[in-house]
């Protein structure tokens, strides 16, 4: 559960302003989409919130913490990438388990959480497959699952639908809103 606040964030590459003085408040449980032409800085903004890029200026607050100088792993966020970024050498199960392993949960806990997320996303039958053996829609579910599995405070999604065909896109557009059933839903920044 967390509010996300961006305060005058700036990202420059040399003399080029990729993100210029963006301020934004996303309330707890709110669902926000950033829309704009390509190259306008949507992905850069998300990467700044995630901590994947060093910020030139400004502050990012998640809840009451200032996370500006924190590593991505310490920000308690989850992100779904445009190309899903599933670990190609790991099975679906291990993809989902990875964030929990990194947080040193016990095997039993990991198993319970992975199965819960898999049930919600209807991918239980795919758990032993490798990402390349999945369809685009299935891969996307796994990517969502990896974000859901550990109750993060913020979900970031970078064009999660752009790799899907038109029909799946319509179907999936409704899902991110329905998936985090109440208690998990927090500040969402989505990138359509």
């Amino acid at each position: 559960m967390a509010q996300v606040v961006l305060k005058d964030i700036v990202k420059t590459y040399g003399s080029l302003y990729a993100v210029n003085n963006v301020s934004l408040t996303v309330e707890d449980g709110e669902f926000v989409a950033l829309v704009g032409p390509s190259g306008c800085g949507k992905t850069t903004t998300l990467n700044l919130v995630a901590g994947l890029l060093p910020m030139t200026d400004g502050d990012v607050m998640i809840g009451d913490r200032n996370v500006t100088d924190l590593d991505p792993k310490d920000r308690d966020i989850a992100m779904v990438f445009q190309n899903y970024a599933l670990y190609p050498n790991k099975t679906v199960y291990k993809n989902l388990a990875f964030p929990l392993q990194m947080r040193k949960l016990s095997k039993a806990e990991i198993d319970v959480k992975v199965m819960d997320a898999a049930k919600v996303l209807d991918i239980v039958h795919l758990l032993q497959r490798k990402p390349r053996e999945l369809s685009g829609g299935q891969q996307q579910r796994v990517a969502l699952g990896r974000a859901l599995v550990r109750d993060p405070q913020v979900f970031l999604m970078d064009e999660p639908l752009s790799n899907l065909d038109a029909k799946l896109r319509v179907q999936m557009r409704t899902e991110p809103k329905t998936l985090p059933s109440g208690s998990q839903g927090d500040g969402d920044l989505r990138h359509p």
Binding site: N47, A50, K73, R75, A78, M79, F81, N89
Partner: protein, 293 residues
Amino acid sequence: MSMVSAAPSRRRRVKIDPWRWVGRFFLLFLLTFTVLPMLWMVLTSIKSQFAAMQYPPQWWPAEPTLQNYAKLLDPNGSTGQEFLRYFWNSFYVSMVTTILGVIVAVPAAYAFSRFTFPGRTFLFFSVLLRNMFPSVVFLMPLFLLMRWMGLVNTHGSLILTYLTFGLPLSIWLLKGFFDNIPIQLEQAARIDGATRFQAFFFIVMPLSTPGIIATSIFSFIGAWNEYVYAYTFLSKQDSMTLPVGIQRFFTEFATDWPGLMAATFLMSVPVVVLFLVLQKYFVRALTEGAVKH
């Protein structure tokens, strides 16, 4: 109608393309050129000393014998002891070169692939500086350097030298591999709670195994076959490596050709086996990055 159109196309298919045949003959020539000496090596190695010297030559050994191999591999005989010692020295030097090479090349290539830092391009190309000159050019300077460091007649001198030969290629090859691994995978791992190093170790390393294997073979083969430096740096008999040691089969008055050939054959075994077992990684590493996926 269809008959009319089919006839010329059939005729076209039968037509001989002369260039294609020139190419085939050229390949056949190259193949003969490379395979014949090896065949002759194997055939000579199973002849007796007398049969090997006969003229006109015995194309096929009349009395094939494995005696030469038995002599080389016999740990109790003096020849066997010497040969096995050289073999072990070569193996030790090549193995240490390979392992150290991977330990240095992997982080270096990763840094070149992922980080931007001042002088990156300059450093990346200066890595190749060493490869712009024939290796003999460095022979005397390196010898003086090794003598100054007291490394002459040690395997350390060879390992250091081979590293400087092998590293540039390893770094370039591995960088190509790392470039092909989407950066989002590491970003995802870091968001999932991994440190930068963990992301590298758990996600990037397993994905670049083929590249690491291929570069390992490269440095192993390079170190295994090297002759000039081993000949210059090592003069003590018990520290010699195989390429230098095999020379001892040439004596002043006679050469033990079958023994020499058997030793040469045994020397090529590890390389051939390595190559056959791991060749799919080898090909992948060399063509990786050739086309965009």
